[in-house]
């Protein structure tokens, strides 16, 4: 009933607002009130009053016809809508009248809101969004780690997976995922597919559903089933343009025909992005005895679902118990010095773990930019507010209440922040594209980044919050006190001192925050400089590398290795004949690239102290020309020779790290080493003793920022060519050889997969690309901050000068020189500047630990950086102070005194 009544009233009011009969209604009202007045007058006359007095008394009792008409009108329509519309119109007009103010505020806000919206959309997509999997918060990832390099995540073997299936009741389902890569042959050539080999229960455990066809199920497990493939949503869209008829088609993967059974919903995969998911039968290896029974043959990642009611803690306890029991039982597979351990991590967290630090750092930097730009806008509006006080007093005199004035300010600020917000979103759209490439390097969830409703809501919330802040910071006098201001003939109502104190604190804060940001940018830039000074270990950059896959591992092991080697040799000969080519080498792994193939290694007559992990070294096979072509110098011994062929004595070359680890004070040449460990039985590499013939210089294979690891080179001819590539050195412009070299490879092996055709300078570049982007973003943010802060300090001083014009005029007429006035203003600015600098340096000092993990060869409290940053900020700040100081010195006392 009550609702109905309000609805009826509201409808009537809306009719009143838009109805065209308003003049008519006004006439009606006037006539009605006129009648009332007449009746009252007549009544008064009837009671014996003189007609004049009767009318006057009636009029007095009416309380004023105009006021009444206004009150009725307010009841008739929706007065607040009408006045808000009027406010909006008015606000637009005033903003148009101060284009400089509007432009500065809009640009400042757009930068702040844009930076924050862009970074927030990435943070949300990569870190915050709940997983698309059904009950994604119940998924856990198991990580198996050991001590030593490369031991952070060594995966599980199938027997280990079985242990957990049998022993961990707190896990409802355990899915296996094995990263693999397959070559897809199609009409337009070969391409590499990142795939995951998964068990039939994988999708059920993960809680994923198909968008097309079906997903694998337990009946797809084991030998003797037909090989099937499930495409990821991204790959299906990109490669097959979302073809709905894809289900049932055959793909040629690693030379075999595989049936596409479905497309899975968009979802992140771990440990990396994949294009497709295959059942295990696709890889003979994964069904082989060595895989299924080899306890140390670890190629499987585990994702599991917590059983209903089970907690993460229970799962951790249980897994730890199972693991320690198994380690005792099968001690030959668990080197005690390596400290095997298993972490149970929520799947959501493991997906974001690499991106977390970078993203929160960027979010922090963006928030700082927001603080600075908000401070600037607050300052600008405060100054403008003072100039507008006269206008506000007049409006108050004409009957506007405080609430009304406050609303006018709010409308105006909302318009400003909205325009800023819209431009900010435009900036964010561009920024997100840039950030995507950063996020892709850190997170498998990068494709979930988008500017959706939530992100736009974030931008909107920022805008509204800012508008509120701006409107309520402006001081308006208390209701009812206007009259005294007006009667006092006041043109100004501000408590100027209090407001100026606020402005000054804001400027100090701006400078301090800018210094912190600058320090971050400085540290990251210095990191980049340090990195660029790191020697790669290669003598030249005029080297082109190309990775060429001829056969699948299974084909190679099946005896086609010699055929592959013969083809590699042919490519090498033909490329060497190209004009400009100096040397061509062959190798399994290209220089400056790290190898994932690492085995435990021992040296004759040396034993590893108890409690230390078994040392593990990278395996690299190279031909006699490899070192010369790559420009890697041999510090001792000889390179491989043509005589180190199949059947000849096994020889190796070790790198310097290896030499200093095993042979710290002796000459390693002539000593013998061997591969060792349980896992060796599953590989084509034998554990026999091999004689060291040379020691090579270290190269930065793990990236410029990584410590060189142990590496062992074996002759290309003596081992199976599990992978291969050409190292081409030219006298100049080696990149120009790309086309010719690729053509030769194509001619020799038309179906070969050619990948990563890059010069070593490109490889080097690539290894620091994420760091560089990071440094660039932080530098961009800090330069924004500095510019905005400089505008801030200049603005506040200029304002201070304009309020002190009279004072300055008096000082000058009393004999103060221009230089003195200028110094006075500069001093005023310097106080702010120095306070901000001190606070900023202190902040940078204590904030340094947040950035520590991103630095290379630079101390987080690097004094040179901190001093440099402070000097730079001081210089920019002084320039910003100079402008208003000059203006102050140019004040003409005669003019200011007269106008006062």
């Amino acid at each position: 009933m009550r609702i109905l009544r309000s609805v009826r009233e509201a409808l009537a009011r809306v009719r009143g607002l838009f109805g065209g009969d308003r003049p008519e209604a006004d006439d009606d009202l006037r006539e009605e009130m006129q009648a009332h007045l007449e009746m009252a007058t007549n009544e008064n006359i009837r009671r014996g009053m003189h007609p004049d007095a009767a009318r006057r008394t009636a009029l007095l009792a009416s309380g004023g016809m105009t006021v009444a008409a206004e009150a009725v009108r307010a009841q008739r329509g929706l007065p607040w809508v009408e006045s808000v519309l009027a406010d909006i119109k008015y606000a637009f007009r005033t903003l148009r009248h101060s284009p400089a103010f509007t432009a500065v505020v809009v640009v400042t806000l757009a930068l702040g809101i844009g930076a924050n919206t862009a970074i927030f959309s990435v943070v949300r997509g990569v870190l915050l969004k709940p997983l698309p999997h059904r009950d994604g918060d119940r998924l856990v990832y198991l990580r198996h780690s050991i001590d030593g390099p490369g031991g952070a995540s060594i995966a599980f073997s199938v027997p280990e997976v079985r242990d957990f299936r049998d022993g961990a009741k707190s896990l409802a389902g355990i899915a296996e995922f094995s990263s693999w890569s397959a070559t897809l042959q199609s009409d337009d050539g070969a391409s590499r597919l990142g795939v995951g080999l998964v068990t039939g229960n994988y999708f059920e455990v993960m809680g994923l559903t198909p968008v097309l066809g079906r997903l694998t199920r337990p009946s797809d497990d084991g030998p003797g089933v037909s090989p099937v493939v499930v495409l990821t949503h991204d790959y299906w869209m990109k490669r097959f343009a979302g073809d709905p008829a894809i289900v049932g088609k055959q793909l040629k993967l690693d030379g075999k025909s595989v049936t596409v059974i479905g497309v899975v919903q968009p979802a992140p995969f771990f440990p990396g992005r994949v294009n497709a998911l295959l059942n295990m039968v696709n890889s003979e290896h994964h069904l082989s005895a060595m895989m299924v029974q080899g306890r140390s043959h670890r190629m499987t990642e585990i994702v599991a679902r917590l059983a209903p009611g089970a907690t993460l803690e229970q799962a951790r306890t249980e897994i730890a118990a199972v693991s320690s029991r198994v380690q005792k039982e099968f001690s030959e597979s668990y080197d005690p010095g390596s400290h095997h351990r298993i972490a149970v991590i929520p799947f959501h967290d493991v997906l974001g773990e690499r991106a977390k630090m970078t993203l929160w750092l960027l979010m922090g930097a963006a928030a700082f930019v927001m603080i600075i730009s908000a401070a600037n806008v607050v300052n600008l509006t405060l100054m403008r507010g003072v100039r507008r006080e006269h206008e506000l007093v007049v409006r108050a005199a004409l009957g506007a209440g405080v609430a009304r004035l406050r609303r006018l300010l709010l409308v105006e600020n909302l318009i400003l922040t909205f325009i800023g917000g819209v431009f900010g979103v435009v900036i964010a759209i561009g920024g997100v594209r840039l950030l995507m490439s950063l996020a892709e390097r850190y997170s498998p969830r990068a494709n979930e980044i988008r500017l959706d409703g939530v992100v736009l809501g974030f931008a909107l919330a920022l805008s509204v919050a800012l508008a509120m802040l701006l409107s309520f910071l402006a001081t308006l006098p208390k209701e009812g006190s206007f009259a005294s201001w007006i009667s006092a003939g006041a043109r100004r109502i501000s408590g100027s001192l209090r407001k100026q104190r606020l402005q000054r604190s804001l400027v100090v804060a701006q400078i301090a925050v800018s210094v912190v940001l600058l320090a971050g940018a400085g540290l990251l830039t210095r990191t980049m400089i340090q990195l660029s000074n790191v020697s790669t270990g290669l003598k030249t950059e005029e080297v082109l590398t190309m990775e060429i896959t001829l056969l699948t591992p299974a084909q190679l092991l099946a005896g086609r290795d010699a055929e592959a080697k013969e083809r590699y040799d042919r490519m090498k000969r033909d490329v060497a004949a190209l004009p400009g080519v100096i040397d061509v080498g062959l190798g399994s792994i290209m220089p400056l690239r790290s190898s994932s193939v690492r085995f435990e290694v021992k040296a004759e007559g040396k034993s590893v102290p108890v409690g230390e992990p078994m040392p593990r070294a990278e395996i690299r096979t190279v031909d006699p020309d490899y070192f010369r072509a790559a420009g890697i110098s041999l510090v001792k011994g000889r390179p491989f020779a043509a005589t180190d062929e199949r059947g000849a004595g096994k020889v190796v070359i070790i790198n310097q790290t290896f030499a200093s680890k095993f042979f710290p004070n002796e000459d390693p040449v002539g000593k013998r080493i061997a591969w060792t460990g349980d896992v060796l039985r599953f590989t084509p590499f034998s554990g026999e003793w091999r004689t060291i013939v040379g020691v090579s210089a270290n190269t930065q294979d793990g990236g410029l920022d990584a410590k060189p690891q142990l590496a062992v080179f074996m002759p290309f001819a003596q081992e199976v060519a599990i992978s291969g590539g050409l190292v081409i050195r030219a006298d100049s412009n080696v990149a120009g050889l790309t086309t010719a070299a690729t053509r030769i490879v194509r001619r020799v092996a038309p179906a070969a997969l050619i990948e990563n055709v890059m010069t070593v300078s490109q490889i080097k570049d690539l290894s620091v690309a994420p760091r560089r982007l990071n440094a660039q973003l932080i530098s961009l943010f800090s330069s924004l901050a500095v510019i905005i802060a400089a505008v801030g300090i200049a603005g506040v001083l200029a304002f201070s000068v304009s309020t002190r014009t009279n004072e300055i005029g008096i000082r000058m007429s009393l004999g103060a020189g221009r230089g003195q006035v200028q110094r006075m203003i500069l001093r005023e600015g310097s106080v702010l500047l120095v306070t901000g600098l001190v606070l900023g340096v202190v902040g940078a000092f204590f904030g340094a630990r947040f950035i520590q993990g991103m630095l290379f060869d630079v101390a987080p409290r690097d004094p040179i950086t901190l001093i440099g940053v402070a000097v730079m900020m001081a210089a920019i700040g002084l320039v910003a102070c100079w402008i208003p100081a000059l203006r102050a010195a140019r004040i003409d006392p005669a003019i200011t005194m007269r106008s006062a």
């Binding site: 009605e32 009130m33 009648a35 009332h36 009544e43 309380g63 206004e70």
Partner: protein
């Protein structure tokens, strides 16, 4: 001159409805006169209070208005109670009595032992 009170919006609506129930269709002047007389001139009702209240009641559908000739042959707008207004009056009167009783009981000198 006795101190006159401004009338509160909610109570004014109730007074207007009651007046129209007792006196039948009536113009604004009549309503104002009646309310002032009933309150023994303790209430003063200026146009700015009366007419918005009348309009609000009209918008809510509790009263309706039409132009008619008044006693002294002048055109005036006459307000009359609608069925919905009659119900509303009954309900509000009841609520007022209850509230009044409650408050009276509260303010009555307490007789029971502490």
């Amino acid at each position: 001159m006795a101190e006159k009170q401004d009338v509160k919006q909610g109570t004014l609506a109730l007074m207007i409805l009651k007046t129209l129930e007792v006196l039948g269709p009536l113009h604004g002047y009549g309503v104002a006169r009646r309310i002032e007389e009933t309150s023994k001139n303790r209430l003063s009702l200026n146009y700015g209070t009366l007419y918005p209240a009348l309009l609000k009641l009209e918008q809510e559908g509790f009263i309706s208005a039409e132009w008619k000739q008044s006693e002294n042959n002048r055109r005036a707008k006459f307000y009359s109670l609608t069925p919905a207004g009659r119900k509303q009056l009954a309900r509000e009167a009841r609520e007022w009595h209850q509230t009044a009783d409650l408050i009276a009981a509260f303010l009555a000198p307490r007789t029971e032992a502490p």
